[in-house]
Symmetry: C2
Subunit: 422 residues, 2 copies
């Protein structure tokens, strides 16, 4: 670990030249604290939308290779302008795109994964005292093809660079206020979380708290890189720290946050034969088409006719493609029918502290039962319990769970260190 901080600023933080000057101030403030600084930026504001609109004007299905060439230009603009803004204040800065650094990715367009980051040029510039301004979101294959990392890609770039350079911290500046116990738009007394673990953050992110892209958190977890989520517009706010595990003093609650996810649809494949290979056929077919499957539940086999139901959830946007695939494979899987349920929501409670507290699940089910809410599916992980419920009652469920686990900002201060063992 060295005296180096990686900062990341998203598109809204660099949306115009005045905002870019503000970002330069944040960068220089960190440098003045005695840290080396590498700053990762996204394309300016609506650049990506503008470029996509032109692409769609020209072609209904633009090639993904050319889309990556097109979209990667956005960060070229923002890194050059931010370097100029830093230089204008008398600090030495140098911009670098993914090709110049060598941010090597898989040979996949529009959603490539980083496989290696070359550090020789970065280290050379750092040793010369330069602030390095890096293009986020983009990569390059071993063959020199330009790739992009997909949604949330700049966060992932920042974390990967921080890890490659052994930085002491990666600060993600966003236009939201940070990580809360739940969505403050639904539950007004949601409280800000000072510290969360990677696992909690992953569960909160994947169930709908859109602060960080899950891939960036996974990368941080992999390299144990502390992440700080800060507001670009409120530097007084110290933000949230996301790290491997709580210090003893920090953990004081079984449930850290609650979340709701409306983006899923449930598919039940009914009455498939209870024989080896059926589930494998379904899920490899979906995986081959890059359709992510969320919760999977398989019931006990029905003994009278030796069939199963297999239920799972996928993103609503993937539904049309998934149905086409089922048409193709149904000769093999022999499902009696396929039932679609798109009026659903997944309500989850998340907390690294729940593992040793057996009453947590019971409290959750009890809370939903008191609201007369039917639970359609249940799934659990080490740090999460999720219930599938009707979409119409999801926000009611969220509010009730937030209250039941004492997460409100009016409560959380008083219960700290003094939580009941539910």
């Amino acid at each position: 670990m060295r005296n180096l901080v990686v900062q990341k600023f998203g598109g809204t933080s660099v949306a115009d030249t005045d905002k870019i000057k503000n970002v330069a101030n944040s960068v220089i403030r960190e440098k003045k604290l005695g840290n080396d600084v590498v700053v990762v930026v996204s394309a300016m504001g609506h650049t990506t939308d503008y470029l996509m609109k032109m692409a769609k004007d020209i072609s209904e299905v633009p090639s993904s290779r050319e889309l990556d060439m097109l979209l990667s230009t956005g960060e070229g603009v923002s890194i050059a302008l931010l370097s100029m803004a830093i230089q204008a204040q008398g600090y030495d800065a140098v911009s670098m795109n993914a090709m110049q650094i060598g941010i090597i990715t898989e040979n996949v367009h529009t959603k490539a994964r980083i496989i290696d980051i070359k550090t020789d040029k970065l280290n050379k510039y750092l040793s010369e005292g330069k602030i390095i301004v890096v293009a986020g979101f983009q990569g390059v294959t071993e063959d020199g093809e330009i790739t992009t990392l997909g949604r949330g890609g700049s966060d992932t770039s920042a974390v990967a660079i921080a890890s490659a350079l052994d930085a002491k911290r990666c600060d993600i500046y966003t236009d939201v206020e940070g990580v809360y116990t739940t969505d403050p738009r639904i539950v007004p007394n949601a409280s800000k979380l000072d510290v969360v673990t990677y696992d909690e953050m992953l569960e909160l992110a994947s169930v709908g708290a859109n602060v960080l892209h899950p891939r960036s958190v996974e990368t941080a977890k992999q390299f144990n890189m502390p992440l700080r989520v800060r507001s670009s517009f409120n530097l007084e706010n110290r933000g949230n720290l996301i790290k491997g595990e709580y210090d003893d003093m920090e953990i004081c609650r079984p449930v850290t946050g609650v979340a709701v996810d409306m983006s899923k649809v449930r598919i039940v494949v009914c009455d498939v034969p209870d024989e080896p290979g059926v589930a494998a056929k379904i899920f490899t077919t979906l995986a081959d088409e890059h359709i992510s499957v969320d919760t999977i539940i398989q019931s006990y086999a029905r003994l009278h006719n030796n069939t199963n139901d297999i239920a799972f959830t996928i993103n609503k946007t993937d539904l049309p493609r998934a149905m086409e695939l089922f048409d193709k494979i149904n000769d093999e899987i022999k499902a009696d029918k396929i039932h679609i349920d798109d009026n659903i929501a997944k309500v989850s409670i998340v907390g690294a502290g729940m593992i040793d507290r057996p009453g947590v699940a019971a409290t959750m089910f009890d809370t939903l039962a008191n609201l007369n809410i039917n639970i359609k599916m249940i799934s659990t992980s080490e740090v999460k319990i999720s219930c599938l419920v009707d979409a119409d009652v999801a926000n009611d469920a969220l509010r009730a769970l937030h209250k039941a686990f004492n997460l409100g900002c009016d409560v959380i201060a008083t219960v700290k260190g003094d939580l009941p063992n539910i």
Copy 2:
């Protein structure tokens, strides 16, 4: 030489998505003729102005390295969109930026010269039948720094790529109608030239006919690459062919064109000692600062005090910097005074045929004398005679010379092959 044509389209030809679709048609038309095609494009329309404005918002003197990073993004957009437009019509296309190709330049920003072009990837894609869409204007140093080629850089990119690939022709599409005997805005009956030589084109370009950047013509001359200048908006017009020398049938006039250049200022360094090293000091000092010097005239030494006057012209935009330099070196060159004359114009007649026709210069001077125009300086090359005159009378001079050499479109048809030996 192979069955390959390089095409180049400038910023106005790709200014919006509809125009890009038109360019795709021109590219595909050439491909359908049975040629392999490499197409070089500039940034869309006013992209460069827009990017420069943001840079100036951020810094009064943005670093040239960061300017190159910024401006080079413009071609990234146009190559991706043009590739998509070609693909949308069912043809295979692939975009490449300078870094991907390996368009290697000197390590100079904002006006680098190309020193090498790697052809392995280009040839690989061509052998696969692909149309290659190349980012003009940009290059990369051996160290991976992004450079740009300065004004007219995309023309130079196109010619250099055509030469590197041994193309049979390089077609430069422009928004002007082509190369004329003179500027049609000043002389309405200027005639279009079907064929001109590189040398003529160089002289016409450097004295103000802004069709092609001189560097691109120099590169074409160096590799004897035939250039065709065509109108993007009028494909029926076959354009101008620019090549090494005229075929016997083509040469029929001593003067091909006349031009005027208002961009220069004359500097006279008065009464410097007539001793070795003075001129060298002046012009190496200017060269070190990349100030181009045009015509240089040194008078005979005055015997009574052993001093000289040295007169020369430079671009008006370089004048402030030149004057600073003279302040610095005047202790060494000991000029009595420096006289600036910025109300001047250079009027030139150009023609590869004038070399064997001694009366041409006399006709020029006579024409100016008849208008009572005073000639301030004269310079000549093998294919050009230039006279420095007062700016106020320059256009009158141009019109009179155009008439004196029978260059009007009402005349040129009748005199072809039957020119008087003036």
